[in-house]
Amino acid sequence: MRKYLKPGLFILSTTPFFLILYKIFFNKLGPEPVKEITHFTGEWTLIFICLTLSMSPLKRFTKLPIWVSFRRMLGLFVFFYATLHLLTYVGLDYRFDWKPILDDVVKKKYVFIGFAAWVLLIPLVITSSQKMLRLLKNNWKKLHRLVYVIAIFGSLHYIWLSKTVFFKPLIYFIIIIVLLALRIKIKNRDVNYG
């Protein structure tokens, strides 16, 4: 049973991707299709960030170590959907027309922070393998704490681009803050017991 969990989760994690492909090729995206794809991939990036951050609290609450073994895959899906999101914006929306894109990155703070979050994901992807984990030893853990910064950036990106914070941008922000707050507790307990 256990050996099917990971492949099952992998297939499940790709369903948003196939759903959007279906919508693109069967013309189900509505009057503003590019915006629809951008919002869809952006929201799934945030969902996978939340899922990735949920694994170690889940391990703690259920006392089952299996959760943590999903973390790498979920993290890589964050990068997958974030990259689709970025490519939609750069390629589909702006046709690799770099001038307005660079203008946006510099002038619009939500674009800047979103782009920064994507850039910060790159070192995490590069060092995601078991080999890299062994190679970097203690530094690996420190490096991968970047995901907390990325999560906050992602949430701010959503808040800043929205006309109003109600309700979805606020909901994601709260979820991320709660997930990060749970970690502070873990750390304190480690210190106490250590």
Binding site: L29, P31, E32, V34, I37, P100, K108, L161
Partner: protein, 301 residues
């Protein structure tokens, strides 16, 4: 429910008449065609000419009185009552009047007017409105010499408009124009679209349309037109003065703090269609640029 596309039922003759109509009143679309030198810009002109489908025009709306999502107005406005409907013209006029919608339809002949709509969010449509110039209506009252601006007040009815139950904007919706803008022949009182009665989600029964300004300037479901001496504060200026100015002319050189205004997406063009360049005054510069001679449009955005 399957809707028949207007283009499918429009005989070619009427379609061609419509083209000549655009030319006859010298709209932006024809001026683009004249100015197009290269093949590329010619194809651009073609895209800009194509009417947006009835379905997209009537299901993709910004009308916060009925909800903030684009599909809300269509869904939530179907039971909205537009009869009886009175419009009062008051303020700096010699004799204020109140007209019913029936009186207005008897007094003025609506004609088809194909204009482009550019939303401040960076998308655009081409809409065959039915309507007449606001100046014709305003000529029915004698303005005093203090009438420098026109204020439009939309209906306030939270029982029917559920968006008005929340403080999304400073209700009722308020917009305004300078008197010369209001008197410009392109400033239109809209009573219908695609040859039909104006649907509720598009601002029935009485809205205005100002083709060279961002869409939000064109107030919907108007009940009061007030002539005033001082520049009115519109609902959007009230909500965010940094983002929305009084003039709000379509201007590719002045960015909205959150959206670039240099380009736009044409609604209905599909997922692979590129953005197109936004035109100064939405392409109606020949007609309206003179209203703003000597004004710094970066300052008066």
């Amino acid at each position: 429910m399957k809707k028949i596309k207007y283009s499918e039922i429009t005989p070619e003759k009427i379609y061609k008449n419509r083209r000549s109509f655009i030319k006859s009143i010298g709209l932006g679309a024809s001026s683009i065609a004249i100015s197009s030198i290269t093949l590329a810009s010619k194809s651009l002109a073609n895209d800009r000419d194509k009417l947006t489908s009835y379905k997209d025009i009537t299901t993709y709306n910004n009308y916060y009185e009925f909800g903030t999502s684009k599909s809300d107005p269509y869904r939530n406005s179907q039971i909205f009552k537009t009869t009886p409907w009175d419009i009062s013209i008051e303020g700096e006029v010699e004799k204020p009047i109140k007209l019913t919608m029936e009186e207005i339809s008897e007094m003025f002949v609506s004609e088809e007017r194909i204009y482009r709509l550019r939303c401040v969010e960076g998308w655009s449509m081409v809409i065959p409105w039915m309507g007449f110039s606001l100046s014709k209506l305003l000529s029915k009252v004698n303005l005093t010499n203090k009438a420098k601006f026109v204020e439009f007040e939309s209906v306030y009815d939270p029982t029917q408009m559920k968006g008005q139950r929340y403080p999304i904007l400073n209700w009722p919706y308020n917009e305004g124009l300078r008197i010369d803008e209001a008197m410009h022949p392109l400033t239109t009182v809209v009573t219908g679209l695609y040859g039909k009665k104006l649907p509720n989600q598009n601002g029935a029964p009485f809205r205005i349309f100002i083709p060279w300004k961002y869409g939000f300037k064109s107030a919907k479901a108007i009940v009061k037109i007030k002539l005033v001496e001082n520049m009115p504060t519109s609902s959007w200026m009230w909500a965010s003065p940094r983002e929305y100015g009084f003039y709000s002319n379509v201007n590719p050189n002045v960015d909205h703090p959150r959206w670039s205004q240099a380009t736009e997406r044409i609604i209905g063009e599909g997922v692979w269609a590129p953005r197109v360049k936004t035109l100064m005054f939405n392409g109606y510069g020949d007609e309206v640029a003179s209203l703003y001679t000597g004004m710094d449009l970066k300052k008066y955005f």
